[in-house]
């Protein structure tokens, strides 16, 4: 097994090691890629940037053979190719690191590295040689890895490094990374970027997707901007700054119009969050002193790049995540020590971003999904559900959101994504909630469904709810939000009016004033 065999240095810089020529790909009526062209030079670091849904991941999947273009072609070494699957891409030296790492926690890091391509010594694998190879590989790219550590005990950052090294070990010289820094703390991200640069120095070609424009401008040799599935611009290093990129990324698309007709006036403060701090499941501080207030008949949008604390904020308000400090007041009553059940009883409702695991019991029937909530005891007497009351409730929930279904005894999994979300929103808004936390409510919902879900959220607002809307789609915030709270690295970066220009929101989201990833002391 050759370890980092010398590759041709960038002798001819125009050579397209990998790319796309006029590629289009549609999923039903959604056109994910339209006439996309990208040229990735051999030995360069190439960044792909764009909003969620701009078509970045679709493009990456096609470059790796996980998907095939409807029109146009993938280009490898200046020639059109047709991949029938990842196997073909791997054979051409292309490797993909997805956000969800393919690391087996039960094995050591060394075993993970060589898994499937173990050096052999007779019938067993040659551990000594594997270890020597691993050390050599790590030295070349300048990382230090404790190879005998069980993968379960390694940090995400180290697991990611091992996954990158595994691709190299298998002979990949083109590495595609899908938002590699999204899951990392700032210092770890800086280390990853250094690793990418040393890969380039070793003659490898790197393609990475990122929302963090700082790091893009910092390390990319070339930048391609995608918007609504099209390539809107390509730059070489130094040709564009972050502000220019932000403008290109968000563009100036026509937006769904705000519908303010006949809405009630914004009322008194209902929910007051003050100085809230919380950590994620791995113990990394994700919220630091967040404060804002939420009023009756108001929709407040929360804008943030993924991983900047919005999930933790939603979970902390619902009560499924402990907060380390700060307070949450509902109508002046401190909820901070209250259980989920208690908070729901006081009128907090929640539309989860994780529809299949948290928003719904996906294998439970629509009946069960419609009635599940702390208000169950009202659906019967003395601990027993009364059929007529249950049926009326189910009917009301499914009617409210105009859910299209077969029979109410079908499992939730039988519905389309948009209809599943309608069940969730119908259930969560049926009792005139005081506070509705809606987290990415239109994620994975098609365009038509999105409009209807927006309508349901407006209806909840008009019925008197204070709505906290977390969304990665700026369009969504623009048509719904009265104010927009922007989170960046777990802090409130600013509060803007609901119709604030996209570029202004984008600037705050991307942490215009925040530290760049190369600064070491930030984070841990």
């Amino acid at each position: 097994m050759p370890i980092l065999s010398p590759t041709t240095p960038a002798a001819d810089p125009v050579t397209c090691r990998i790319g796309a020529r006029g590629v289009s790909r549609a999923f039903g009526s959604v056109r994910a890629n339209v006439d996309v062209s990208v040229t990735v030079r051999r030995g360069s670091v190439h960044a792909i940037v764009g909003e969620n849904g701009a078509g970045k991941s679709t493009l990456m999947r096609m470059l790796y053979g996980l998907d095939a273009p409807d029109a146009g072609a993938i280009v490898v070494d200046d020639a059109d190719v047709t991949f029938s699957g990842p196997r073909d891409a791997i054979a051409r030296g292309i490797g993909l690191v997805q956000q969800e790492l393919a690391i087996i926690p039960e094995l050591t890091l060394l075993e993970n590295l060589v898994l499937g391509a173990e050096p052999r010594a007779g019938l067993v694998w040659d551990r000594k040689r594997a270890l020597a190879d691993a050390r050599e590989l790590a030295a070349v790219v300048g990382v230090e890895i404790e190879w005998d550590l069980s993968a379960a005990h390694a940090s995400i950052a180290v697991q990611q490094q091992v996954e990158i090294l595994r691709l190299l070990y298998r002979g990949a010289d083109v590495l595609i990374l899908d938002e590699p820094t999204a899951v990392l703390a700032p210092a770890q991200a800086a280390e990853l970027l250094r690793l990418l640069l040393s890969l380039r120095a070793a003659g490898r070609t790197v393609i990475f997707i990122s929302h963090k424009l700082d790091e893009v401008v910092e390390i990319a040799d070339d930048i391609t901007v995608l918007r609504s599935g099209r390539t809107v611009a390509s730059f070489s290093r130094g040709e564009v700054d972050r502000a220019g990129l932000t403008e290109l990324i968000v563009g100036d698309q026509a937006v769904e119009v705000r519908d303010e007709a006949g809405r009630p006036a914004i009322g008194e403060a209902v929910l007051v969050v003050d100085g809230l701090s919380a950590a994620d499941d791995r113990g990394i501080q994700r919220l630091s002193g967040v404060g804002f207030s939420l009023h009756r008949c108001e929709i407040v949008g929360v804008a943030a790049v993924a991983g900047n604390g919005q999930e933790e904020l939603a979970e902390a308000i619902l009560g499924i995540r402990d907060c380390s400090s700060g307070s949450i007041l509902l109508d002046g009553v401190d909820l901070t020590r209250e259980t989920v059940r208690g908070r729901r009883r006081l009128g907090i409702r929640y539309v989860s971003a994780d529809r299949k695991r948290e928003g719904l019991g996906i294998d439970l029937s629509l009946v069960d999904n419609a009635i599940a909530s702390s208000g169950l005891s009202r659906l019967g007497r003395a601990g027993w559900l009364r059929r007529s009351t249950v049926d009326a409730r189910v009917r009301a929930v499914l009617d409210r959101a105009a859910v299209r279904f077969g029979t109410a005894k079908d499992p939730a999994s039988s519905l389309s994504g948009g209809n599943q979300q309608r069940v969730v929103i119908g259930r969560e808004t049926i009792d005139e909630p005081r506070v509705l936390i809606a987290s990415q409510p239109t994620r994975g919902v098609d365009v038509r469904g999105i409009g209807y879900i927006h309508e349901l959220l407006r209806q909840a607002r008009d019925d008197g709810a204070a709505v906290l809307l977390f969304s990665e789609e700026l369009d969504e915030l623009h048509v719904l939000a009265d104010r927009i709270v922007v989170l960046c690295q777990g802090r409130v970066a600013g509060t803007l009016p609901g119709d604030a220009p996209r570029a202004e929101i984008g600037r705050l989201m991307l942490g215009e004033t925040a530290t760049t990833p190369t600064t070491e002391e930030e984070g841990r």
Partner: protein
């Protein structure tokens, strides 16, 4: 938006007959395969040992269901399994995998034997009620600590309930020798229960007794409670979608606690009924691993109440027919164990494999480079 409302809201009340039929069919599909595989494996064993599998199987069926007395024996053998299978299914519905029913069954049996031998002065109905109630409480007591550990501190219930089985059964057998030993008995056994506390046979002198009726009532209660009670709903939700249940503010801890405790209560009642109906006292070796066979039946039935009845009768038939069929043919005594063991293995496998496949499918998206 109204044009979207093609929904058949009338379907909410549902047709009960169709619904029940669907559940029965699902139960048959889930249980049929493991049983069929077990019969094939057993057939191979028989053929290898020089028997004609069809002849032996035919004999087994005749011995299990051939006449009213045989059926009675099969039902008597199925009775303790009904209790333990429902007990296991009760907890598993909530996603809690207790294996402590065996211990609860034993402690319930001992308690019933001890109490039952001292209630001779009471009228029969009252004597039975008091005795069974104390057996139920004892069974619950055997599960209380694991239930608390799991609900309060998330201590793994498989480990604690398994260990508690050893403790409970050990304490039961020791206390028989120390306190309740009947004089003049060679092996450790308690005194016989008072006639007033016995569960009368349904068709004397055969063994099937009122305990069978109680078991059927418990199975029916389980079915209705899971479908119709608030906590039963929460059981199903927590078992099927734990994160969802948490976000909905369901009483997840209470569900987990009641699941383990309830399995113990039902197991204790089963032990009590076994003591009062069949054995009429407690001896060491009181339970022929009924608690563990119950786990297999619950999995085989996918917690479906009708499936539990069918599964308990199947295992009961194997036990009762296996005992007598050896009198007529020279088959290996272990055949019955092999059949039961094979059914259990494939019952567990057919329960686990779909989950495994689901996980494999989820992982298939990422191709290992």
């Amino acid at each position: 938006m109204t044009e979207l409302r093609t929904a058949s809201v009338d379907a909410v009340p549902g047709s009960r007959a169709g619904f029940t039929r669907a559940r029965i069919l699902a139960g048959v599909r889930g249980a049929g395969l493991p049983v069929a595989i077990a019969l094939i494996v057993g057939g191979v064993v028989l053929a290898v040992t020089g028997n004609n599998p069809f002849v032996v199987y035919g004999m087994l069926v005749r011995e299990a269901f051939g006449d009213i007395n045989r059926i009675d024996a099969t039902l008597a053998a199925a009775t303790p399994l009904l209790f333990t299978a429902v007990a296991a299914a009760f907890a598993y519905r909530a996603g809690v995998f207790t294996v402590g029913v065996e211990g609860s069954f034993v402690l319930g049996g001992l308690t019933a034997a001890v109490v039952g031998s001292s209630v001779g002065g009471l009228p029969p109905v009252l004597a039975v009620a008091v005795t069974l109630l104390s057996a139920t409480v004892a069974g619950g007591a055997a599960a209380a600590i694991p239930a608390l550990l799991r609900a309060r501190w998330a201590v793994d219930e498989v480990v604690t309930t398994l260990m508690f089985n050893f403790i409970v059964i050990g304490v039961a057998n020791w206390s028989v020798q120390a306190f309740f030993q009947q004089r003049g008995q060679a092996n450790s056994a308690t005194a016989y229960v008072a006639p007033a506390a016995e569960l009368p046979p349904l068709n004397p002198p055969n063994q099937a007794n009122v305990g069978l009726i109680i078991a059927i009532v418990v199975v029916a209660g389980y079915a209705v409670w899971m479908r119709r009670s608030v906590l039963g709903f929460e059981f199903r939700a927590v078992g099927s979608a734990p994160r969802f249940s948490l976000a909905q503010g369901l009483r997840v801890r209470l569900v987990v606690f009641v699941a383990i405790l309830g399995a113990g209560l039902i197991g204790g009642l089963g032990g009590g009924a076994h003591a009062l109906g069949i054995v009429h006292r407690y001896t060491s070796g009181f339970s022929a691993s009924f608690g563990f066979t119950g786990i297999a039946i619950a999995l085989l039935a996918r917690f479906n109440p009708i499936g539990i009845v069918v599964g308990a009768i199947l295992f009961g038939a194997l036990n009762s027919a296996g005992a007598t069929v050896q009198l007529f043919v020279n088959i290996p005594i272990q055949l019955i164990d092999i059949l039961q063991g094979t059914v259990m293995v494939f019952a567990v496998a057919s329960f686990a494999i779909p989950r495994f496949m689901k996980r494999a499918r989820r992982g298939a998206g990422r191709d290992d480079a």
